[in-house]
């Protein structure tokens, strides 16, 4: 199962209703993501850092997530500065470093980090189960939310199943190569994974029916109204500031 490291906690973000955070995320994330204005992007990054601190998340874990994001950015930094045209910043041996080629990965890096921090602080502070309920309240269909929740819960189990099948093949000295035998074996492995997931899906469904499941996931603790107002105001204010910054 995929771990939900950030979902447990006591901050305002943890206590707030996922609905408030989902609406906030739906406003803030695309706005930062599609904007080319450096001021807006920096502001988004600032809000990301600020919210993560407010959510009092373990910074070690947050940084680990950012490392993964920035590994992708690293590849952009290897390629992009040397491509493009226009103003040259300086020459790096025979290679020219272009101004536009530096600006672009810089924007992308700041944006990616800002958006990641916003996602961590706004969405990861609720368990997927609660987010699912939030989506339901916002009018997303039952089928979709159940699909989301069960996929999330059982992806890990399905991966384990696939791993088990692969090990079984390996133990019988299966070595992948460029042959029909390899393709067929992989096809079998994938097909078996589907069959087993399907069967497990049925078993889980049966177990849920036996416990009176009728389409909605009940939630244990109610979000606190107080935190809702705080987080709601905070998010509305941040969004207004972002819009203001983009206009100026």
């Amino acid at each position: 199962m995929i771990e939900e490291k950030f979902a447990l906690g006591n901050s305002v973000f943890h206590k707030a209703d996922p609905v408030v955070k989902l609406v906030g995320a739906a406003c803030l994330l695309p706005f930062v993501a599609v904007n080319d204005d450096l001021k807006v992007i920096l502001m988004g990054l600032f809000f990301g850092i600020f919210f993560v601190l407010l959510a009092s998340l373990e910074l070690r874990h947050v940084l680990k997530h950012l490392v993964v994001v920035n590994i992708f950015m690293f590849f952009l930094w290897i390629v992009l500065p040397f491509s493009g045209s226009g103003e040259v910043l300086y020459y790096f041996g025979p290679l020219a470093v272009y101004k536009k080629g530096v600006e672009l990965p810089l924007l992308i890096t700041l944006k990616a980090n800002g958006v990641s921090l916003l996602i961590i602080s706004l969405l990861s502070t609720s368990s997927v189960q609660r987010l699912g309920n939030g989506l339901r309240q916002l009018g997303v269909s039952v089928q979709f939310t159940i699909l989301l929740l069960t996929t999330f819960r059982y992806l890990g189990v399905i991966m384990q199943e696939y791993g088990r099948l692969r090990r079984a093949a390996k133990l019988r000295r299966f070595k992948p190569g460029l042959s029909l035998h390899t393709y067929r074996t992989y096809a079998y492995l994938i097909a078996m994974t589907f069959v087993r997931s399907y069967e497990q899906g049925n078993r889980v469904n049966n177990a849920m029916i036996m416990r009176g499941f009728s389409g909605t996931f009940p939630i244990m603790d109610l979000p606190s109204k107080n935190s809702d107002y705080k987080v709601g105001t905070l998010l509305a204010l941040s969004f207004t500031i972002l819009i203001a910054v983009s206009i100026i």
Binding site: V128, V157, R203, N206, A207, M210, R211, G212, P218, I219
Partner: protein, 246 residues
């Protein structure tokens, strides 16, 4: 006095899709209260029998009765499932919530229990299976034995009259197994256990159902016999129930 409900199957005929010989051939079954074991070879249809009882599998022919009333449609079975709980073979199929308390409270909440009440029932049930303090543990990180106990708790929390347990000792080590025997021994509910582990059954049940050639045989006589058994480090003294033998 143990709580129980009258469960009855009449003339059940069922054939697995594609199978030539029906797995149940005019099978009859009655259970009222008490503790029973359900025995049978692999593929004899033990698990499917549970599924027929709670309406997860529709038999080709025959009737399912609960407290004398015939269960005909889905609503009837919904009603039945409030009184008959089932613990599945794989604990992983039963547990899907992030934390233990949420999983245990899932059933009560589905039956419109208030949150506080559901939380209280969940805590009480966890205590009953010896898992107090596990409320906020992450379900998927528990050991196999603990998962099994949580799965049992999720069903007990619904306060059923009858429990159906499908191979509860599967993959359990010695200490988890004896813990399970203690817990099941204390329960006031009636139950039926599917198990190949006959030592385990003999500790708990009063009667046996044997599923053979599509029919059920009910018996209260279990034969106690002695047989050779295997001990690791057999040369050394070891505990044998309460006596110490060489």
């Amino acid at each position: 006095m143990k709580s129980g409900s009258h469960l009855e199957l009449q003339n059940i005929v069922f054939r697995y899709p594609g199978a030539k010989i029906p797995v149940y051939d005019q099978l009859d079954f009655t259970f009222e209260k008490g503790r029973a074991g359900l025995l049978g070879d692999n593929g004899s249809g033990k698990t499917t029998l549970f599924h027929v009882l709670v309406g997860l599998v529709k038999p080709d022919r025959g009737r399912v009765l609960f407290n004398g009333r015939e269960m005909e449609n889905d609503n009837d079975f919904k009603f039945l499932r409030r009184h008959v709980g089932m613990v599945f073979q794989q604990a992983d199929d039963q547990l899907f919530s992030p934390t233990v308390i949420e999983d245990v409270a899932f059933g009560p909440l589905n039956y419109d229990c208030a949150r506080e009440e559901a939380a209280e029932i969940a805590s009480r049930t966890l205590k009953k299976v010896g898992l107090q303090g596990y409320e906020h543990r992450v379900t998927h990180r528990l050991s196999g034995g603990e998962k099994r106990l949580v799965a049992l708790a999720t069903v007990l929390a619904m306060e059923p009259d009858v429990l159906l347990l499908d191979e509860p000792t599967n993959d359990l080590d010695k200490s988890s197994r004896s813990r399970l025997i203690d817990i099941l021994g204390e329960l006031e509910q009636s139950y039926i256990i599917i198990s190949h582990d006959q030592d385990f059954l003999s500790n708990l049940v009063e009667s046996y159902y044997l599923l053979e050639k599509g029919k059920l045989i009910h018996t209260t006589d279990a034969i106690l016999h002695q047989h050779q058994h295997f001990h690791i480090l057999g040369e050394q003294n070891h505990r044998h129930h309460d006596s110490l033998v060489d």
